[in-house]
């Protein structure tokens, strides 16, 4: 029994269509201000006042056993104080079952604790973990959809400005 990881690259995330309650973060290519050749990376900018979502789909690895946790690395566009709340939803379909994937709904949302943003300097990377208590009975080999969002409308999400998501991973206990 060990810890397995599914890496969920920002560039592989599917943004929703932008309709009501299907809002999407802006995907941005970031160029470091360091001297050339500069590092580049992708980030997803989540609004401070509404909930925007980014969604990944993948096959759950064969060694998945239990305890899925979403690990998020982020930085803030400007905030150096306050808290953020991140949400994650999962939908899992076992091959051969009767579920219509085209009509699949999310399991109940999982919320992070209010997490303080890195202090002093906007741009420092912080981490949020979301324990996926509601994981839609996911099992090894399932087709999985997983969303990450910032609950910007929550009164407990107090940090001003965009949250810039730079890395997402799903960890789990292996068989």
């Amino acid at each position: 029994m060990a810890t397995g990881t599914v890496i969920l690259p920002i560039g592989a995330g599917v943004p929703p269509d932008g309709t009501a309650t299907n809002l999407a973060p802006a995907i941005q290519r970031v160029k470091s201000s360091a001297s050339a050749p500069a590092p580049y990376f992708l980030q997803a900018a989540f609004d401070a006042a509404q909930e925007e979502h980014l969604i990944w789909s993948f096959r759950m690895p064969a060694d998945y056993a239990s305890a899925p946790v979403v690990k998020i690395l982020f930085k803030m566009a400007s905030a150096t104080t306050g808290n953020v709340i991140m949400n994650s939803r999962m939908a899992a379909i076992t091959p051969g079952d009767t579920t219509d994937a085209d009509a699949k709904a999310w399991a109940t949302v999982n919320a992070s604790a209010a997490t303080a943003v890195p202090a002093t300097t906007a741009g420092k990377v912080g981490e949020v973990s979301i324990t996926m208590t509601n994981a839609d009975s996911v099992a090894a080999g399932d087709f999985v959809m997983l969303s990450v969002s910032r609950d910007g409308a929550s009164g407990s999400d107090t940090a001003t400005g965009d949250l810039e998501l730079v890395s997402v991973a799903l960890t789990y206990t292996t068989t």
Partner: protein, 91 residues
């Protein structure tokens, strides 16, 4: 005439979207309160020379932590919406 609550929310969201590039050592509610302060001040300034300066009209947390550029941006956004011009955020 003072902005409506929806218009003030619009300014608040726009400030948080545009006002990047400088560290903000204050939380969302402080910005929202500062929008109220700025619009109230603009309202008073529209009628007569206000008794307090714009800076003094801002709540203490915003006043002491926001940069001059951030304070200017806030007033500019308030004035844009007071002028009846739309912001991308919508009301």
């Amino acid at each position: 005439m003072a902005l409506s609550t929806g218009e003030r929310d619009q300014v608040w969201r726009a400030f948080m979207r545009i006002g990047t590039g400088e560290a903000t050592n204050f939380v969302k509610q402080t910005v929202r309160d500062a929008v109220d302060n700025a619009d109230d001040w603009a309202d008073s300034a529209a009628a007569s020379v206000p008794a307090t300066s714009y800076n003094a009209a801002l709540n203490a947390t915003f006043r002491s932590n926001a940069t001059a550029a951030q304070k200017s941006l806030l007033l500019a956004l308030v004035c844009i919406v007071r002028a009846g011009r739309p912001l991308p955020e919508g009301s």
